[in-house]
């Protein structure tokens, strides 16, 4: 079955640390990939997306993600996190241009000031 897996449920970092959140999907065909972020008390918003082309995509607020097809991965990175990055992050995939986006279970990121 098609699925999206996020490796970490809860991550705690200090400010200025580097961040990498893992995401893997299970599907052998064409896939569009997304990272969403949900700040406390706010709605889900799109952080970045990959459709095709350059596998390194840049999003808002200094985030980037790399699509590695051979590893079925789409990891989210940020070189230096800030306290305001405290949020829940969701990896998601649209497989074979389907209508339904499949979400991972989310990673809660807590940044210590």
């Amino acid at each position: 079955a098609q699925s999206v897996s996020q490796h970490n449920h809860h991550v705690i970092l200090s400010e200025a640390a580097s961040l990498e959140l893992g995401c893997n999907y299970s599907y052998g065909g064409t896939v569009n990939l997304f990272w969403y972020v949900q700040y406390p008390g706010q709605h889900l918003q799109l952080l970045l997306k990959y459709f095709s082309g350059d596998p390194l995509v840049k999003g808002i607020k200094g985030f980037e993600a790399e699509f590695i097809k051979s590893k079925f991965s789409f990891n989210l990175r940020k070189p230096s996190v800030q306290w305001s990055d405290t949020a829940e992050y969701f990896c998601a995939a649209l497989m074979n241009r389907d209508d339904k986006i499949i979400f991972g279970k989310g990673t809660r990121l807590h940044i210590l000031p």
Binding site: L44, L94, D99, G104
Partner: protein, 111 residues
């Protein structure tokens, strides 16, 4: 800017009540979705609709129904609310093959 409006941020209902959650989008997009969000489980798709009067079951449709009489409005109905339906409900909308936009969510408590 895309706007997805959910009728209530917080709602408290009693077991056995019929509950309506409303969602309105202002972009004239085809697809609309209802998810529930629970800690540790992420977003789980309840129902989605790709056109007026069309609906498809998602992963957890049991105990829910939906209505889409107009393109901009997608309603989620809990026929007879139960305590295990206490959750955060998110409405999303979008074009086919494109990322979705979401409303602020409705935190529903069933007593």
């Amino acid at each position: 800017d895309v706007k997805v409006t959910q009728s209530s941020r917080y709602l408290v209902k009693r077991t056995g009540e019929k509950v309506f959650l409303e969602c309105v989008q202002d972009m004239d997009h085809e697809n609309m979705f209802w998810y529930r969000q629970d800690p540790g489980l992420g977003l789980r798709l309840i129902y989605f609709s790709y056109d007026v009067k069309m609906k498809e079951k998602g992963d957890i449709p049991e105990g829910y129904s939906v209505s889409r009489e107009k393109k901009e409005r997608f309603s989620l109905i809990l026929e007879s609310a139960s305590t295990n339906q206490t959750s955060m409900y998110l409405c999303g909308e979008g074009l086919r093959g494109q990322p979705q936009h979401f409303g602020d969510g409705t935190r529903l408590s069933i007593l």
